[in-house]
Every structure is written in structure tokens, then in C-alpha cells.
Chain length 183, copies 2
DNA sequence: TTGTTTACTTACTAATAAGTAAGTACATTT
DNA sequence: AAATGTACTTACTTATTAGTAAGTAAACAA
């Protein structure tokens, strides 16, 4: 069954977002699935392979999300992005970038590359979104759209981290201000 | 000598900011100091004790920094804060909050408490700074000063994380926009 | 001078980590 | 019916981890 493979990747994704890549082991995956750790190694010989699979899934999930919002007005697309972060906040997760970037120096090279790919994709999409939205008069902000995209990504990422420590209203406050600043 | 103790805390602080709390071991500290791992355990019986010492030092360093800027105009104080993050960026470090918050769920309780203390101290100080600066006409921004403080902390924290992945100019761009938004 | 404290080292233990080699049960293909 | 592939398990190895108990050499105190 391809089912087990998907369950492993899903669990690994969740573990990265709750405990961090260096803080989970194959046992954390094999136990809940009621299989042996060697079964996880059967699908993903090394932890680097598993990490890469998680990032590949994150990238394709992002791309399909972006695609499905394509026809919506720019502010609605931005709200969808923010809503996806709100979901993570409510289930006490951080985003993949927020989890993996502090550990960046300790990650295998293949994971570093995918993480760069992921962040480049988010920023490129958001930059275009802001630019188009500004042209249409939906958004209003000063300065370069790329810089504004960076600010928004930066705030969403950090809001999940801060929510862990100072409580969940950190996310609300930050995301509200973010929208207020450009609408 | 108290010297060794301080060197241990200093090294641990650096390791947390470069590799993360769960990714360094006592060997990473004992080797460069040319002592045995048991010598580290002599000063800090458990890793939780060492982590607490690092956070206590971070808190007192923060407080003495804040104190030394007290007499300066508010924008100068903010620039000092930003400069301290720029230093971290240049030496390829993230801040203590940026490193520890993704691992928050895996941290011992004493470290969770100190991390809350640390973030509360930063935000309380920055909130007061922004409020005073706005009264004097040095800063100009909409909304609650506490929310704005959250945004600034959030951006500074995340800019160091993003710099790791997408390059160092992420920090420049974000910090520049931050100042532009309120000056 | 004797005893005690300080700052370690030596030499471990127990637990957990990632990873592997060989075997097995079942399904599918030839 | 025989051979092969799939999805695992059993049973390990090797490395690393946090942590500890007991010893030691030098400094200091009574």
C-alpha cells in the first residue's frame, strides 16, 4: 500500500511543525503507525530522505493552493494565505519555514535546497500578488512589492513562533495589523 | 576559576543561536574548551540547568542594554535594538527567541518560563518606547503601541531566520521598511 | 599540619539514535 | 507451478547522548 508511505510523510510533517526536525526520531513515527522503525527505513532509508519527502510535499501543496486561488481577487488570495496560518496556529503548529530555518545549518544539503526552493516560491507568488493588487487599487502600500512580501511572510512566520511563547492572540494581533497596513 | 563557567555559558549561547538547543551536545562545549564532558556537568548537572543559565544571562544582558540606552531619544534606542540584530545577522546567528520558540514544546519547563520572561520584557520595553516616541512626535503610526511592538519584534526575529535561507539582504530590507513605517 | 573545598578527570552506565542485513508472508507475474 | 516483487519484521550494530560515581591534584583554611 502507498498508504503507509503517505502516513509516514504526514506524521513527519506534523512532528517537524510541533517538535522540530532534530527532536523527533523514527520511533515517533513507527509507534503511532504500529509498525517497526525498520519499516520507516524501508520507505525512507535516511532521515534526509524523509525530510526531503516532507519538503517536496510542502512545495506541491503550496503550488496547488496557489493554483486554486488563482481566479480570486488579490485580497481574497491573501486572506486565504493568512487563514492557512491561522489553522496552523489553532493546531499549535508552526510553519515549515519557521521550524526548519533555525536548524538550517544542521540540515542535510538536499533539505537546505528544497527549503530555499519553498521560500523562493512563496515570496515570488506573494510579490506578484501584491504588485497586481496595488495596480488594481485593492492594496495600497509604499515601497517595493518584493520588500512588502518579505515583511508579510516574515510576520506570518514569526507570529506562529511568538504565539507559542506569549499566547495565541499574538497571531490575531499581528495578522490584523498586516491587513490594516495595506488595505 | 569562574572563568570556565562563563565560557561554558557563552559557548552554549552561541551553539543555541547557530545549531539550536536540541542539536548541540556537551561534547560541543567540552571539546573547544579542552575539558571533559563531566566538567560541564560539574557546573551544570543537567542540560536544563545550562539552558536556564543561558536564558538568565540573556535576560540580564537585555536589561543592562535597555538601561544603558535609557537617556537616548526613542528613535536612537530603537536603532540600537536593530543594530544588535544586525550584529547577529552578520555573525550568522539567530536571536534566542528565534532559536528556542520552534523547540518550545520540547524544552524543560524552567526554560519555557525564562523564555516567556524574556519575551515579555522585550515587548513591554518596546511598547513603552513606541508610546513615548509617538507622544513626542518622533514616531508616527496607527493603532496600539503594543501591537506595533509585536510587529517589530516579529519582524526582527524572522528577518534573521529568513536571512539564513534566502540570504543576508533579507535583514536589510526588512529592518529598513520597519523604520520607514514609523519614522 | 591536617582537613576541606574547588575544579576538575577517569571511567563508566543506560538510553536512544540512525541505520542495516537477512528473513518472511503474501500477492502478482510468467 | 515457479519465480519474483512488495511490504514489511526480526534482530542486530554502531554511534552518540545525557548523566554519574569515584578519584585526584592543587589551593586554601583551621
Amino acid at each position: 500500500m502507498q498508504d503507509t508511505r503517505e502516513k509516514i510523510v504526514g506524521l513527519a510533517d506534523h512532528l517537524i511543525k510541533t517538535k522540530g526536525f532534530n527532536a523527533f526520531s523514527y520511533k515517533d513515527i513507527s509507534d503511532p503507525l504500529a509498525i517497526k522503525n525498520a519499516a520507516v527505513h524501508y520507505y525512507f532509508p535516511s532521515k534526509a530522505d524523509l525530510g526531503q519527502a516532507v519538503l517536496d510535499q510542502e512545495i506541491s501543496t503550496l503550488e496547488s493552493g496557489i493554483n486554486s486561488w488563482q481566479a480570486l481577487p488579490e485580497d481574497q488570495q491573501l486572506r486565504h494565505l493568512i487563514a492557512s496560518f491561522e489553522n496552523k496556529c489553532n493546531s499549535h503548529m508552526v510553519c515549515i519555514m519557521g521550524s526548519l530555518s533555525p536548524d538550517y545549518n544542521t540540515l542535510p544539503v538536499n533539505m537546505q535546497e528544497r527549503l530555499q526552493q519553498f521560500s523562493a516560491a512563496v515570496i515570488a507568488w506573494l510579490t506578484g500578488l501584491l504588485e497586481n493588487g496595488r495596480k488594481k487599487g485593492i492594496f495600497s502600500f509604499r515601497g517595493d512589492a518584493g520588500d512588502r512580501a518579505l515583511i508579510i511572510v516574515s510576520n506570518l512566520l514569526a507570529s506562529l513562533l511568538l504565539s507559542r511563547v506569549i499566547g495565541e492572540n499574538a497571531f490575531e494581533k499581528i495578522s490584523k495589523q498586516l491587513l490594516d497596513d495595506i488595505l
